[in-house]
């Protein structure tokens, strides 16, 4: 039998048809899809030894404990530290993607002057010239750090001014500071012992204070319960995230928090619901308070009775509204357990930055938030890790980014106890960056050193024999063999927590009901940080979902 051309075609067609019924095409298809998943231009992470380190987040002043997974020396994953007694493992959403920030497209990597690239030498020469021509103002956004003492020392030695820019939470405590003579930085909220919280528009469940501290507390004592152990009464015009989850939400007109506080105080005093401490009753009548807030007089009466049903009760304000602080004095919530308490020994007030400073130059530390625009004609030197885009600074000076700087983290503003932690630089500080302290030390070599300042603070804590260091295990300071051992733990991410001070050390001398101040607007963590620089993954919250307004849209 001859093999014909026709047989060849039939055989070929038969083989082709037969292959379809074998695994070959499917295997080829599978292999092709696997191959297309491994193209060389697909981004790959850094490969190398994986280790876990503990530190403290420095994105804001809250100082949350973080556990950082490192691969090949780079941070690749961040989570909270469950053994941290303040945050109990919680972080804000930004913290979970903070490792991306050092490669953010808006990372500042060069000195800029008037929109052009400049050098550190030029910046230093300009600052030295300014120092020679007149006094300079140095602004610190997070006072109390070892770096703060460098800034303060420079200002003192060069006839300049050291000024602090208080965060919103500390500013809310300033009326008590004014009436008691104790610095607002020495005050805090004893949240753990409160039974009723009257929040005047404060985003308590949205990152207020130390993210995690209140949310954990609310979760344990209030969430979902019809009659919770901790009653959260939210007073604000709109249904915010906190209002939506509060035990009770009372809607009032915008900016009428002071009027409501006065109305509540009227009822509390008239109906003898409080023990008569505090200032004289406010001049504002209940009817006027009702008209301003949009509530009825009966509703204010009922609210006043409700807030004192469960004590201790405290009112928390979004800003430095003295009427709300005065309400706390009437409620007896100042200097008592479950109220506004003294967290550290009384200290003198730090001088805040006032508007319109007419000095020759102003240096803004990288801890000053981007949304702060100084009202000044001075030449502004702004340190920043990211270029927020709306700076009015004459000089933009690149500073270390996330986990690139050794710094210490003093007590968070809302904390009820003194704390101290150290954030070590987990990655090397880039050569093109300098901290404000390093910049000033270059100019004046006699200034104190940050590393030595941290060491001295650790020795001081050790010698005081007070408080506890919380790492995997909690260890009383008195049980440490040496200051060096304690410092070693702190440099590995542990946190020192001071012993609680006895209640009653705080007295407010307030005779008259205070006049209302400008109403403060509540801020949440999205506004508190350096807008508009977010970790790219934070876009999940506003671009890939409708959870939040996009930062730009909200600002507008």
């Amino acid at each position: 039998m001859k093999f014909s051309r026709r047989d060849l075609f039939i055989g070929g067609a038969g083989i082709a048809a037969g292959i379809v019924f074998t695994p070959v095409p499917w295997k080829l298809l599978g292999d092709t899809s696997i191959w297309t998943q491994n193209w060389p231009w697909i981004p790959q992470g850094a490969h190398g030894p994986v280790e876990t380190k503990h530190s403290v987040c420095t994105l804001c002043a809250a100082g949350c404990g973080i556990r950082v997974r490192m691969a090949a020396g780079w941070p690749v994953g961040i989570s909270g530290v469950a053994t941290n007694p303040i945050t109990k493992g919680a972080l804000c959403p930004l913290g979970f993607a903070a490792q991306q920030l050092n490669w953010h497209p808006q990372r500042l990597r060069e000195v800029r002057h008037g929109g052009r690239t400049a050098s550190w030498a030029e910046a230093q020469a300009a600052f030295e010239k300014a120092c020679g021509e007149g006094p300079v103002t140095i602004v610190d956004g997070r006072p109390g750090r070892a770096a703060s003492s460098v800034l303060e020392a420079f200002a003192a030695k060069h006839a300049g001014d050291y000024r602090v820019l208080l965060d919103e939470e500390t500013r809310a405590l300033s009326p008590y500071a004014m009436w008691s003579g104790v610095s607002a930085a020495a005050l805090g909220y004893d949240l753990e012992n409160m039974q009723t919280i009257v929040s005047f528009g404060v985003p308590l469940l949205d990152g207020w204070g130390t993210p995690g501290r209140f949310t954990r507390l609310w979760s344990e004592k209030a969430a979902g319960a019809a009659d919770p152990q901790l009653r959260l009464i939210q007073i604000e015009p709109g249904l915010s995230r906190t209002a939506a989850r509060a035990w009770r939400w009372t809607a009032i007109h915008e900016g009428s928090g002071a009027a409501l506080a006065a109305g509540l105080a009227q009822v509390l005093i008239q109906e003898h619901l409080v023990n008569g401490q505090g200032p004289a009753p406010p001049q504002m009548s209940l009817v006027d308070a009702a008209a301003q807030t949009g509530l009825s007089s009966d509703a204010i009466r009922e609210l006043a009775r409700t807030i004192v049903e469960r004590r201790p009760v405290v009112a928390i304000a979004a800003g430095d509204e003295p009427a709300i602080a005065a309400l706390n004095v009437v409620l007896g919530a100042v200097g008592t357990s479950g109220g506004i308490v003294l967290k550290s020994k009384p200290q003198g007030s730090q001088v805040q930055l006032e508007a319109g400073v007419g000095h020759r130059a102003m240096l803004l530390d990288s801890t000053v938030p981007w949304d702060f625009a100084p009202q000044t004609n001075a030449e502004v030197f702004r340190f920043a890790a990211w270029d927020g885009g709306n700076s009015k600074a004459d000089w933009l000076l690149p500073s270390p980014g996330f986990a690139e700087e050794l710094t210490d983290v003093p007590t968070a503003s809302t904390s009820a106890r003194e704390t101290y932690a150290i954030a070590v630089n987990l990655v090397a500080q880039p050569g093109e960056t300098k901290t404000a302290a390093q910049f000033l030390t270059n100019i004046d070599g006699t200034l104190p050193d940050v590393d030595k300042g941290i060491h001295a603070r650790c020795e001081h804590l050790f010698e005081s024999k007070a408080g506890t260091v919380h790492a995997e295990q909690a260890t009383a300071v008195a049980k440490f063999e040496s200051a060096a051992k304690m410092e070693e733990q702190l440099r590995q991410g542990a946190i020192w927590v001071g012993d609680p001070l006895k209640a009653g050390g705080l007295k407010c001398a307030l005779k008259q009901w205070p006049a209302a101040a400008n109403p403060a607007h509540a801020i949440d963590w999205t506004a508190a940080w350096q807008l508009p620089v977010f970790p790219p993954l934070a876009a999940k919250l506003y671009q890939e979902s409708d959870l939040r307004e996009a930062p730009g849209r909200r600002q507008a």
């Binding site: 981004p43 989570s79 953010h104 979760s219 969430a223 999940k540």
Partner: protein, 252 residues
Amino acid sequence: MSARYGMVIDLDRCTGCGACMVACAAENNVPPPHTRTTARTGITPMLVHKLSNGKEGADAREAFIPITCMQCGEETPCVSVCPQQAVQVDKETGIVMQMVQRCLGCRYCMTACPYHARYFNWWDPEWPAGMEKSLNPGVSVRMRGVVEKCNLCDARYHLALSKAAAAGKKEIDPADYVPACVEACPTGAIVFGNLTNANDPVAVAAHSPDSFRLLEQIGTEPKIHYKTKQNWIRAQADRNAVRSNSPEAQHV
């Protein structure tokens, strides 16, 4: 004995902060969104939806519901429609696994998923220069054209297995396997564990009278349970699941 990993999400504790979404994306190397990415085209293996009781004024209330792959235990819709066998239920863990290397991007599984918990990679994965150093080395980056979803941080499970093996143990320590969203939740609203272990907190919570599952009537036996004491949240949760599948709800 094989495990059945699942979650119970307490909706009364969820504040809608979104930490779970960000932590999930960071853990699983989800790329930053393209400029044209929307809520419909984004990659959100964990997505928090807002629920409203529909009332006005002082009676208005809102709640939040995190939606993720429900890890269906029975008649898993995505498994049955996949022509590539790219979706399988892991026998050891009960996790519905998406093998992106096998995926052809036909998106049948997205159509079949009653919970709208699957996402298509519409764009090439791109990070700003240098940011790829922050990627999790334990999770591979997905290419454009494939579908992905929550796999309960399977990479963490394998790390826990390796750790157990190194210690000469056959079973993992439950503390070593915690998905990123569970770890991130600041209120502890998400409980995770083995549903077959009656003593596991997740099994206890799943059997509480307040717990329920989404679209329970379709019989997919999800391993993600929810919990609330408030009836309106429970009613809205199911409605939201149905609504999020409708084209009208997928606003671009």
